[in-house]
Structure formats: structure tokens, C-alpha cells
Amino acid sequence: MQHTLIALVENKPGVLNRVASLFRRRNFNIESLNVGQTEQPEISRMTIVMDGQDLDARKVEVNLYKLVNVIDVQDVTNQPAVTRDLALIKVKATPEQRAEVANLASIFRARIVDVASDSVIVEITGTEDKIESLLELLRPQGVLEMVRTGQVAMMRGNASGVRYAPGANGNNKNGHEKDEEVEIFTD
């Protein structure tokens, strides 16, 4: 089954390379990886979509923690989360066919963002399922080109995703009364 993980990482040069290298090194099969800014300039956010069981998602989580620049990882699969993907689809469309494409797009609340003499670009935002459905309907028209951003995800309200190895990044008190302050060290 598909798993969606959110990773917060330090916004430093080479961090994407470290994450990608880890996936290659540990033989993890990743379906999509999206990287972008967050509300904090020093932190970037990755949304990782992978195929596998819970144990595979756990492996990705704990291995990510081996990277010094990874701050937090959670699995938002089957959790109250909003997930979105954006696609630009260039469809063959003569002036006579445009109406049909526009009609399909509007049913999916997609937009036509460019019109050329024999093609149009449809922009759609939504879950993967929604994008796949529109794509299937557009295929008979002739899909010339497509680009997708890969999934991004955000938990609703105060909820947080699953952390398979609680305390794996040392953030958790684990039921102990005292916990060492390790964020700043002055040894």
C-alpha cells in the first residue's frame, strides 16, 4: 500500500542529496518526493510517497533520523490529512474539440491555462485519484505532455501523523520524568 511521509529537514545545501542517497543506498523504492519551503526559512519540508507495508515506512523513518539534518518525520497515511498533487496536462485539441476538453475540466474543477491552435494546457489540483480520473478521460483526446508536482500533505488541526519509533530522534520523554537537554550542548 502507499505511504505518505512528511519530513522536516534543515534548509542547507546538499540535504536533498543526502536524502536521495539514503534511499538509493538502502534500496528504498520512492514513488514521489516533493521538497519546498516552510513558514520557517531555516527549515524545508519533504513529502515522500512510497509503496510498502508499515514496516517499510518505519524503515524510511528511522533511517531518515540517521541523517543529522533531518528534524522530524511522520507518516500521515490514513490520518486526517489534506493531500494534494498538481498536474499540468497538455491535450490535443482542435478549435472544434476545445469545448469538450473545457467541459471535462470544469467537471473536475480544473482550469484551462493555455490555448494554442491545436492544443490546450489543463491545470488540475487535487488528490491523486482525482487527477488520475481526469487523465483517463482526457486520454482519448490525445495527451501530448504531462508534468506533476508529486504529492504534498498537511495534517488537519492539531493532529499529528504516526511516529513508528517514538523517541527515535531523542525528542520524546518516553514517560521518564527527567529528560536531558540535548539541543544545545556546551561540553
Partner: protein
């Protein structure tokens, strides 16, 4: 105060207690070498960068401190790769500082430019590329902390030449923030309680004690736990010495060349307590039938090791010393008399068949040498090894009673590790007796460091086991390839002359009766000494679990004219 990048590097290193570094200068690190002259640091000039990396590793393992190695860019840095990978596999804290071409030349294929951070990404715990002197102070502090904390490991800093030369305002960075790096300490209370329950229920428990015991300084806690719960201990190769091997609760080493009683105990146990070890394939054999009757508790600081090879019932992610300290009050005093008796039966049968029974036919076996060496040094020397048969025999015959005594390349299996790591260990313990046990194959890979030993006056003793074969490969070809020997015979140089040419005292031993006097000669002669032992050519290590076989499916020593040597 304004300082150059090179001066800032040495300021931080010396302030953090670094007083010896191993390395090799070159074009891209000359400002660092120039800066070094003003600081109280001893530099060990090696003959090859790989030797320098292994020395830093040996120093780190013998001292518990971070070992520092330096090289220039390009080939200097790539020569470190084997040493860094060796440290990575065995979680050894070394800091590699490499020179890099000017920042404005990066990416342009300049002379001696290599993408060193790219090459070492998968074999370091973390690495840095520094392009400006402003970054050096914080990065060096971070690097030393990362190398030695949590699960230790190698860290590399690649410093561009311009960053070494630039002058910037310097202030010691008191506080450093690493938002994504927080080594876990405490395991969850609920998991500790669950573990205690399993421990109380168990009838046939066994502790698998690994390198983590030593690195977490949990030797005392391990002993207290084992004695209180009356639980036998078997060791990984790197865990030897974390509990006295001569204690009745110790079963010796586990795994491919482990003792039969260790492997039988694991396969028949109803509870496995894995302390700071990682279920490497060399200790598990066939994973599908590993410890089939046992529930498993795994105490480990690196969460990625949990469920990696073996799915466990209770993972305790945390620092071993902390976890054991918190677990100890939860378990009562226990005894497992029936289980201990069963294990003693296996042990005495195995003593007759395998490890303590080598043929008594007048020929010289490695076992003789190691047994005599162990007796002569009262088991208290630091022993480093290369990789192969002699390494396994060292693990079997040199009974380690104290931690940080056996220094060997376990995970990576790096030939050529023995001699340089012994030199490194000597810098950490100049008052201790240091031996390196090497084979004729591996020794020749880093033989050039004999000169380094002489130049530094390193008081190390080399026991060279010469069988004119790459012994372990030969053994595999004998067992698994119908004795079709392929590229394993060595036509060797005269090792005594080689040693003497470098300035060492050296002797050759052919007869078993000459072993004790040769060892005594080495021990009583100051400075580096080499003893070449001409050992039986086609001896094999027993017992042996063939690759992929179940752990209790061991090839045992054929019953020849075997005699028990106690």
C-alpha cells in the same frame, strides 16, 4: 581576534583535547600544516593515507577519544576511503580533515580536485564542505560532537584552500545547535516494563553482548545484569572483552566461527537479550531459522538497527548504560540452573572437539602461538588484528577479560588494518603492551607503515602468521570449491629481512617449542619487533557455520589426533 582558517581549526582541535593527528600533507592542505607548527600537536607522518586513517581508528578504539586524520585533496582523500568505511562499519569515532581546491575552482576539474564529500557521503556519519573560514569553528565543534556521541562514527570535513588561508574574526563558539541531531537516551517506561516481564518469565535466556556495551561504557551494568539474572553471555567479535571471557557465564564468541556452545545456546534459547549489537549476517546465519524459539529484546541506540535483520518483540531504543540502569531495579535475582547445566554439557563437548583441540602433531599451529601469547601477556595486552583466519583464531584463543583490548576490523573486514591500528593504539596507551596479530596477506597491504613505527619509536610487537596462503579464502576453497585453489598461494619475501631493513628487531619461529622464547624476546626488546611464525599451511578455523546455514549447522573439527589444551 583575527585568525586564519587553519589557525581556527587548530584552536578548536587543541581546545577539544586533540594532541595527536595522523596524516599526510599535500598541495591543498599546506596552510593547515603550516598552522599546525604553532600548536601543541604531535603529527604522525604515515607512508600512505590509508595507514593514517587506520591509525586514527586504532587510536579512537583504544582511547575512547576521537581519532583525527588529515590528507590533501584528490588522491590523498580517496586513499582515506577504505579507512573511513572501516570506521563507519565498526562505529569508530574518527574525524577526517581533507584539503580541497579553492572554492572558486570547485566543479571545474582542477588539479587534484575530487568530489570528496560526494564520495564519502554513504560511508560517513556526517560530512561537511567548508568554503569560507567563517564556518570552520562551528563545524569542527559539531563534527567532534557528532563523531563521538550517540552511535559514534566517522565525520569528514573537506576544507577549501581559500578557507584555510582567509583571516576572519574568531570567537570560540560556546553553544552549537543541531536541531536534527538528538541521540536517544531513555527507552519508554512501558517497554522497559514489558522487557522485565519477559526476563522474569524466561527459562533459557542468553545475552548477546556487542560493541555497544563498550561504547556506552556499560561494562559494569552488563556484569551486574548478567550476575543478577544468572544469564549466560555470548559476544560479537567487537564485543569480546565487554565481560570477562574466563568467567563461567561467558560463552565466548557467537556466529560463523563462534563457539559451539554460543551458537547452540542462541538456537535453543527462549529469550534473546541483544545489547548493543546489530544481528550482522556473520552472527546470525540463516535469518529465517535464527533463534526460532526465542522472544527477543533489543537494546540499541540506533533506531534503524531495530527490526533491520531480525524482528524483535521488545525494542528498547536508547543508550545502553541508561537503559540497563533503569532496567536493573525492575528485575529480581534469578537462577537458571538447568539451562546452565545444558550449556556446560555443550561446552565440554565442544572443548574436546573444536577450539581447544588442535592437532598435537609437532607442527606449528597459530593456536599454539596465540595460546602462548595469551599466557605470556596474562591476557592484558591490547591486540589488533588483520582480517582472516588469524583474526578468528585471535578471537578464539586470546581470551579477552577487559574492554578495549581487541581492536579489529569487524564489519568491513579490512585487510591491512592490523599494523597501522596497532601504531594508533600505541599513541593512546604508551604504557600498555601492544601486539598486532597479522597474516602474511594482509600485512603486505600496509607493510609500509613499518617505517612509521620506526620513525615514531612505536613500541608495538608484530606476530606475523605466515602460511604462504590467503588462509581464509583457501579454507573456503577447500570446503566449498572442492579444494580448487585459485589465486591463494603467496610467494612471500623474507619477512625477517624486510623488518630488519626497516630497522626493526626480528626473528623467525618454525618449531612450536621456540614460541615462548620468541614472545619473550619481543616483550623484552624495546621498540617495534616482528616475529614471523612459519605456521601449518593448510589449517582451518573450526567450528564454522557455512554462509546461509542455520547457526547450529556447524562444520566441526575432524576428530584427528586432537588433544585438549586447557
Amino acid at each position: 581576534m583575527r585568525k586564519t582558517g587553519a589557525e581556527i581549526l587548530w584552536e578548536i582541535l587543541t581546545r577539544e583535547g586533540v594532541d595527536v593527528v595522523f596524516g599526510y600533507p599535500g598541495g591543498a592542505n599546506m596552510p593547515i600544516y603550516d598552522g599546525m607548527l604553532s600548536y601543541p600537536v604531535h603529527h604522525v607522518l604515515t607512508r600512505h593515507e590509508q595507514g593514517a586513517a587506520h591509525m586514527a581508528d586504532g587510536y579512537a578504539r583504544a582511547s575512547g577519544k576521537v581519532g583525527v586524520v588529515m590528507s590533501t585533496s584528490g588522491p590523498g582523500a580517496t586513499n582515506l576511503v577504505t579507512g573511513i568505511a572501516t570506521a563507519m562499519m565498526d562505529s569508530s569515532p574518527i574525524l577526517a580533515i581533507t584539503g580541497q581546491v579553492h572554492a572558486h575552482l570547485i566543479g571545474g576539474d582542477a588539479f587534484q580536485e575530487t568530489d570528496v564529500t560526494g564520495i564519502t557521503l554513504p560511508i560517513t556519519k556526517h560530512n561537511y564542505l567548508i568554503t569560507s573560514a567563517n564556518e570552520i569553528a562551528e563545524v569542527v565543534r559539531e563534527a567532534l560532537y557528532i563523531a563521538r556521541s550517540g552511535r559514534p562514527g566517522p565525520v569528514l570535513i573537506d576544507i577549501c584552500k581559500n578557507a584555510q588561508i582567509e583571516q576572519v574574526e574568531y570567537e570560540y563558539p560556546e553553544n552549537i545547535t543541531l536541531p536534527g541531531y538528538k541521540p536517544p537516551a531513555h527507552a519508554p517506561v512501558a517497554d522497559l516494563e514489558r522487557a522485565a516481564e519477559l526476563i522474569v518469565q524466561a527459562e533459557r535466556p542468553v545475552i548477546l553482548a556487542g560493541h555497544g556495551v563498550v561504547m556506552s561504557a556499560a561494562v559494569g551494568e552488563l556484569a551486574e545484569f548478567a550476575l543478577r539474572t544468572d544469564t549466560p553471555i555470548t559476544h560479537t567479535l567487537l564485543g569480546l572483552g565487554n565481560f570477562p571471557s574466563t568467567h563461567p557465564l561467558s560463552l565466548g564468541m557467537m556466529g560463523m566461527h563462534g563457539s559451539a556452545e554460543s551458537n547452540l545456546a542462541i538456537q535453543n534459547a527462549d529469550l534473546i537479550l541483544a545489547f548493543g549489537m546489530r544481528f550482522d549476517d556473520r552472527v546470525t546465519g540463516n535469518l529465517r531459522n535464527y533463534a526460532p524459539r526465542a522472544r527477543k529484546i533489543h537494546v540499541e541506540i540506533d533506531p534503524s538497527e531495530i527490526h533491520k535483520n531480525i524482528e524483535v518483540d521488545v525494542p528498547l531504543i536508547g543508550d545502553l548504560k541508561t537503559v540497563l540502569t533503569e532496567l536493573l531495579p525492575m528485575v529480581p535475582e534469578l537462577s537458571h540452573d538447568a539451562w546452565r547445566e545444558q550449556i556446560e554439557e555443550w561446552r565440554s563437548e565442544s572443548n574436546e572437539r573444536d577450539i581447544l583441540a588442535w592437532p598435537d602433531d609437532g607442527k606449528l599451529y597459530v593456536a599454539h602461538v596465540l595460546h602462548d601469547l595469551w599466557e605470556a601477556t596474562v591476557g592484558d595486552a591490547i591486540v589488533t588484528t588483520d582480517v582472516g583466519q588469524h583474526q578468528m583464531w585471535t578471537a578464539q584463543y586470546y581470551q579477552m577479560d577487559k574492554p578495549n583490548r581487541l581492536i579489529t576490523s569487524g564489519g568491513a573486514g579490512t585487510m591491512g588494518f592490523g599494523l597501522p591500528s596497532a601504531i594508533g593504539a600505541w599513541f593512546a596507551n604508551k604504557d600498555k603492551e601492544i601486539w598486532t596479530v597479522v597474516g602474511d596477506g594482509g600485512f603486505q597491504m600496509t607493510q609500509a607503515e613499518l617505517t612509521t613505527a620506526i620513525q615514531e619509536g612505536a613500541n608495538i610487537k608484530i606476530a606475523l602468521m605466515n602460511n604462504n596462503f590467503l588462509g581464509m579464502v583457501r579454507q573456503w576453497q577447500e570446503f566449498f570449491f572442492d579444494k580448487r585453489y585459485s589465486a591463494v598461494e603467496l610467494k612471500n619475501p623474507d619477512f625477517v629481512k624486510i623488518a630488519e631493513a626497516h630497522g626493526l628487531n626480528a626473528r623467525r619461529v618454525i618449531e612450536p617449542r621456540d614460541v615462548p622464547s620468541a614472545i619473550e624476546f619481543a616483550r623484552s626488546t624495546p621498540g617495534p619487533v616482528l616475529i614471523e611464525f612459519r605456521v601449518e599451511k593448510e589449517d582451518s578455523v573450526f567450528p564454522m557455520v557455512p554462509t546461509g546455514a542455520d547457526l547450529d549447522q556447524m562444520i566441526r573439527r575432524p576428530k584427528r589426533r586432537a588433544k585438549v589444551h586447557q
